[in-house]
Symmetry: C2
Subunit: 320 residues, 2 copies
């Protein structure tokens, strides 16, 4: 039997046909305009893509054990509903029920951060582990929490928003409307803000040259200059690492997971990112005496992370 | 069948005989000097107390289905070990194994905050609920996390230390050695510090009279004066509530529990404490659109909380 993993993003929907070992046998994509105003529009797009995937792969639907969907936004996984999606206006869309009008196999949906965490546990950097936190550093700070091998969602699937822990009460404004959230310091957007401020204060820093060459300031500007020994960049990266560590310390003390995984483009910095994080989190954590300290690693699933995470949800849901 | 709940504190050990509905049929206490230097000393004290309890209650040991122990310190529940106890020097004490030398029924041990949370879920203010956080405001800030009806402990039982989340990076020093932990602002010790500072700055505040009458500044000084309309005290209580809320917002966003319970002596302030907390947490929480906002209530089990929590652990462990 096969599984279908579907990764719904703002501008496109990707679908992959996988086996239960996480091999992606075929994949396909649907460019959407992200204009989902009416009921059934998103379900219809997903359905269209499933038909396309099966047709291209030459597989009939009776060979599909389950379909998994990883979807941005607030998802009520238990009820199969998109509560809402802040990027694209939609509310209370009953995706699972709607897809069952076309497809009889089990369909599961969950938040994209949750399925990414599950994918890492089933196929990736946390393979075989049961208590795992995946933190995604991107435009925001996302989190996926795996407890005892299952995704932790909270009531109505509205939990696992670790990016909106506070780390500095009444601090920097956050996109959520509050001040001082971890996301306002540890997201790549925040790093870019921190980088720009340092560049303006230190015109001699090589970050200015790097940004000119690349045509923009982005999440790697400071890391690139820091690797080259630029003092200002080293300070930016160090301060950013301390912000990231501040939130990780809270999560370490609350969860004591077996491992933290760091996802998002910045995780490509590898040990250059994770080694100082491990050091700072170990220094700040409660009860160092018990257990084996702290383990922080980059996430392993890159391009197919969305598809494999959604497939892992389908596989777990089908009890395979 | 009956259950035994044992509550091990720094100066005494309490034991209660209960039925599976949480009625405490008999209880007894052993005053200890808290001097546990050698192996078996604490297990021997617990054993002595069990024998005393059964003898006083006139119940034979074959009528006991399970024994539960709630114990301060770092507990590895899975392995039945006290990792260590910061108040009284002890390390790696194999309590469960040691007790089995005398008692053949199943024995379970867990951290006191964890069993208190479990007790509230089984017998108290969260009866029948599955996702519950109990926050104990006392000398420190303790937390018990119930997920899907079970205690969440983390690796080696070293998790669930929400008091050591950071809320103000590089802020007030905490007893754990780090700065800015929630405990350093939201514990009763912190409230007393905040009260004393306001009293010194405002000699006209009625908090000074109240403290003189009571012979000390304690956790109720500011609350008592605030209820009487004292402006300085109202500001102290409001700021304290905001500190407590700051940590609760982080936990709300991470866990989205069904309910928060507030334990510790200060919970006797009831709605005067919890109503503003609910307001502040609701204002600060992520994704207000989904679900039913936030619910914060005082814990319900008071004097027998330790015994009933430990009994709940025994009952759950025995699968009753």
């Amino acid at each position: 039997m096969y599984y279908i993993g579907i990764d719904v993003g703002g501008m496109s929907i990707k679908a992959g046909l996988t086996d239960k070992d996480g091999s992606v046998l075929h994949k396909t994509i649907l460019e959407t305009k992200g204009e989902y105003t009416a009921d059934y529009t998103i379900s219809n797009d997903i359905h269209t893509l499933i038909v396309k995937l099966l047709s291209e792969a030459g597989v009939t639907e009776d060979k599909i054990a389950a379909i998994g969907i990883g979807q941005a936004g607030s998802i009520d996984s238990e009820r199969g509903i998109i509560n809402y999606w802040n990027n694209i206006p939609m509310k209370n869309v009953h995706v699972v029920e709607e897809l069952h009008a076309w497809h009889s196999c089990p369909v599961f949906i969950d938040n994209d951060a949750n399925v990414a965490a599950l994918g890492e546990c089933v196929f990736g950097a946390a393979k075989g582990l049961k208590n795992v936190l995946l933190i995604t550093l991107g435009t925001g700070v996302g989190s996926g929490i795996i407890i005892n091998g299952n995704v932790y969602r909270g009531e109505y699937g509205a939990g696992a928003e670790a990016g909106h822990m506070g780390i500095i009460m009444n601090g920097e404004p956050c996109t959520c409307g509050r001040r001082g959230c971890w996301e306002a310091y540890a997201s790549v957007s925040a790093l870019i803000r921190q980088t720009k401020a340092a560049m303006a204060a230190h015109p001699e820093s090589s970050m200015n040259d790097i940004a000119r060459d690349m045509g923009e300031v982005n999440g790697i500007t400071a890391f690139k200059a820091a690797r080259g020994g630029d003092k200002t960049a080293l300070a930016v990266v160090d301060q950013y690492e301390r912000y990231v560590a501040e939130g990780l310390i809270s999560l370490q003390n609350i969860f004591r997971p077996q491992i933290f995984l760091i996802g998002g483009g910045i995780s490509k910095e590898g040990e250059y990112l994770t080694a100082p994080l491990e050091k700072y989190v170990y220094e700040g954590m409660f009860d160092k005496e018990t257990g084996e300290g702290v383990k922080i690693r980059p996430a392993a699933l890159h391009n197919d992370a969305g598809i494999l995470g959604a497939a892992a949800l389908a596989i777990q849901g089908a009890g395979a």
